[in-house]
């Protein structure tokens, strides 16, 4: 048993932290907040240049070949910013989806570009019913020559506006299979409209007969002779399962940051002639916060460890997402109680996390979704 990070992971952690401090200071984060995304931008190019976007991509495909825990350490540090995407969408979800569902040729052509940041991917899965479930997918891939035309409306698509390519969950014309189509975001017939409000970089993606060739299908382990869309959904579920703990690590990093902000503020903010942290009412908020934080941290890192050691991880993954989503959300709530008025000002920076915590709460399934899956995984 050893719950410490390796020396290399500690080095990676400090390197990413230094990078975020230097390239994503609060002023930059506030500027980027207007769009909710960092690509394309100068700090994003620098992030891409580090090679970290290829952290879980095998070296043979131009990545760093890191472990899930390595990637978790990196995403945790990005979460402290919170550095806006599309890193989770592209470097975690996109890379894993292509690794699970791509042919050797697709991996060779796509993964090096994802690792280098030249190409950014977002996953367009959910539609009007919003269920993170196969049954939700109504967008259609209709045969067109040796390729396909994709039509449908994807909603609440995270990072879509920052992506060069969209991996879309689509249904075959006969409605029997749900598979994956890789659609360039600038293809004719694709329009991306940002959803304004409290949402953090969510968009509607309209697909109006967007054309893809046969190499635009990520067919997964479709049986020979079967529809190339018949293997996509299963591969996607596996990719999403593996990406969830990385998203959780990002939520852990965000929770860690608002925890440290709150402790600092409790020491420096004077009311009634004393630091507010001397009041037990205020202490309670921070204690609730650190309990949420540590719950998220250890469920997340256990799930990452299970993935790395190739153990059965389904229960841990559903547990981690249930706990981490609630933890980041609640951590921000507690931090607002500590900070009161100051926390509500945009320039202070807490609201960056508050905004992120809401969107990530439901991204890849909210707690009620993962609780149901957890019950199934436990054999109840």
């Amino acid at each position: 048993m050893d719950l410490s990070l390796t020396e290399e992971q500690e080095m990676l952690k400090s390197a990413v932290r230094r990078f975020v401090d230097t390239e994503y200071p609060k002023e930059t984060l506030l500027e980027l907040a207007a769009t909710g995304q960092s690509a394309p931008s100068e700090p994003w190019s620098k992030l891409a240049a580090t090679g970290w976007l290829g952290i879980i991509i095998p070296t043979e495909y131009g990545g760093e070949g890191g472990s899930f825990t390595d990637a978790g350490v990196m995403f945790e540090e990005l979460g402290r910013g919170p550095v806006p995407g599309p890193h989770i969408s592209s470097a975690a979800l996109g890379a894993l989806a292509i690794l699970e569902a791509g042919t050797e040729e697709q991996k060779r052509s796509l993964l090096p570009d994802i690792a280098s940041g030249r190409r950014t991917v977002a996953l367009a899965i959910t539609e009007a019913d919003y269920q993170w479930d196969e049954s939700d997918v109504q967008a259609i891939a209709s045969t067109d020559g040796d390729g396909y035309r994709i039509s449908g409306t994807k909603v609440y698509v995270y990072d879509a506006a920052a992506a060069t390519d969209l991996i879309c969950a689509v249904r075959t014309e006969n409605r029997q299979h749900v598979g994956l189509a890789l659609v360039p975001a600038d293809a004719p017939g694709v329009s991306v409209r940002k959803l304004e409000g409290f949402a953090w970089n969510l968009a509607e993606v309209r697909l109006d007969g967007a054309q893809i060739g046969p190499s635009g299908v990520l067919s997964g382990r479709a049986m020979p002779g079967a529809s190339p869309f018949s293997g996509g959904w299963l591969a996607l579920e596996q990719a999403v399962a593996a990406a969830i703990p990385l998203l959780c690590a990002y939520q852990v990093g965000g929770s860690q940051q608002v925890y440290e902000m709150s402790v600092d503020y409790s020491r420096t903010r004077i009311q009634f002639g004393t630091p507010i942290g001397r009041f037990q009412r205020v202490q309670d908020h921070i204690i609730n916060l650190v309990n949420e934080l540590d719950s998220a941290r250890w469920t997340t890192y256990e799930a990452l460890w299970k993935l790395d050691s190739e153990r059965e991880a389904a229960d841990s993954i559903h547990l981690a997402k249930t706990v981490s989503s609630a933890a980041y959300y609640n951590a921000c709530n507690h931090a607002h109680e500590v900070h009161a008025g100051v926390g509500s000002t945009t320039e202070y920076g807490l609201t960056l996390h508050t905004t992120a915590s809401r969107t990530l709460y439901q991204f890849l399934g909210d707690p009620k979704f993962h609780r149901r899956r957890l019950a199934d995984a436990l054999g109840l």
């Binding site: 409790s266 630091p275 942290g277 202490q283 469920t299 436990l378």
Partner: protein, 410 residues
């Protein structure tokens, strides 16, 4: 990271040795009463016998130093032992010995060499069972307000006063207690600890009538007592850590009591309720298929998993020498609060069947009824939930630049 103990071939060989030894040495007929107050004297003696046998092997306190009668084993060996004995629904030690655990560690840190030689082998070999005596009617959360007095008289100290919520059924050999040695002295600088032989004249013990002692099965205390000291003469050599130096000793004692020790193990009540819901039908279907029951089971599961991970983290931190700050009281606070939530979940699932130990109409052979009582009473022993939060605040440094340090552990 690695969330599981790794076993070398040598440790696996050790496991085989342990399994064989336990098979040969665990007495037949050990019972696991749902409520530890139902543990009979004969059953207690069976457990003490086992403790002495384990002590002879160095397996009762496996990681305690060999030079003082402990096992001197590594953490990984200790984990093997704990896992194997857990398979018999027993723990180390297999009976209530709070004074041994907390006092033993305190003596290891603060005792003189002579005191270590005198007391530790008895504890670590299972020859004695020790109670801890801290709380008084006027010193609960405010332990530093202890008023039981110890006055120096020649080669002895003379102890007078009253301690409450003490120990267990079936008596003790020693009492590990904190007293006031300077009633006029400055707070935190007027306290002293003693190892007091329980058979000294002037000590009387009266059981209290409580809803629950909050212990779990046979290693729980079962009963709590009031202990009166009436001019009890204790040899001065039994004073541990120096006269009026008792608060520093208390920081070690309390650090462990507040959960920094951590542990590896199952949550027996959670296993029990899951098992019950999967195997018992209501309206023709397993309880676990009822959507409301599933919701509650998942609540319980999440609490139990977080609690397990906090304990695992603390266990690892303690044994790897990591810098411990707020983690002990955090685990303690979480255990108490989640225990109560789990009890609520069980009551929701089972209704009145959770509240009776009736063999026909109660659920879980009395264990669930006992847990319902224990969950609420467990909020205060070893420091109230509020005290745990106070300590966490100081350790985190909420509202203060200087963070309080954790108590020293051996």
């Amino acid at each position: 990271m690695d969330f599981e103990p790794r076993y070398t071939a040598e440790q696996e060989a050790f496991r085989t040795e342990v399994q064989e030894w336990l098979r040969d040495n665990i007495p037949t007929g050990i019972e696991h009463p749902a409520d530890s107050s139902d543990l009979t004297y004969e059953q207690y003696q069976l457990r003490r016998d086992l403790g002495r046998r384990l002590g002879d092997k160095g397996w009762l306190w496996p990681t305690a130093p060999e030079g003082y009668g402990g096992g001197g084993l590594t953490v990984d060996h200790s984990v093997v032992l704990e896992e194997e004995i857990d398979g018999y629904n027993l723990s180390l030690p297999p009976y209530y010995d709070s004074g041994g655990r907390l006092g033993g560690n305190s003596i290891l840190v603060w005792g003189s060499e002579e005191q270590k030689q005198e007391f530790l082998p008895k504890i670590f070999k299972g020859e004695i069972r020790t109670w801890q005596l801290l709380t008084e009617p006027e010193a609960g959360s405010d332990l530093a307000n202890a008023k039981a007095s110890a006055r120096r008289d020649g080669d002895d100290y003379v102890i007078n006063g009253q301690k409450v919520y003490v120990g267990s059924a079936h008596g003790s050999d020693y009492m590990w207690t904190i007293t006031c040695t300077d009633p006029e002295g400055e707070r935190h600088h007027n306290l002293s600890w003693f190892m007091v032989p329980s058979d000294l004249p002037g000590i009387s013990v009266f059981p209290m009538d409580l809803l629950s002692s909050a212990g779990e099965s046979g290693a729980g205390s079962g009963v709590k007592n009031i202990v009166y000291f009436d001019n009890v003469r204790v040899p001065a050599r039994n004073l541990i850590g120096g006269e009026n130096e008792g608060w520093k000793v208390a920081t070690t004692h309390l650090e462990l009591e507040h959960g920094t020790g951590g542990k590896i193990g199952r949550n027996w009540i959670v296993d029990r309720i899951f098992d019950y819901c999967v195997t018992n039908n209501r309206r023709g279907e397993p309880l676990s298929k009822d959507p409301d029951v599933r919701e509650r089971l998942i609540d319980i599961y999440i609490d139990a998993e977080i609690g397990r991970l906090f304990q695992l983290r603390n266990y690892w931190m303690r044994h790897s020498g990591a810098n411990v700050t707020y983690e002990g009281p955090q685990a303690s606070y979480f255990r108490k609060m989640s225990g109560l939530r789990i009890a609520t979940g069980i009551l929701d699932i089972l209704g009145p069947a959770a509240l009776t130990k009736d063999s026909q109409w109660g659920a879980g052979e009395g264990h669930i009824e006992a847990h319902q009582r224990a969950a609420i009473i467990a909020l205060h022993p070893g420091g109230t939930t509020d005290i745990q939060k106070v300590i966490m605040s100081r350790r985190i440094g909420i509202g203060r630049q200087q963070r309080e340090r954790a108590g020293a552990l051996a």
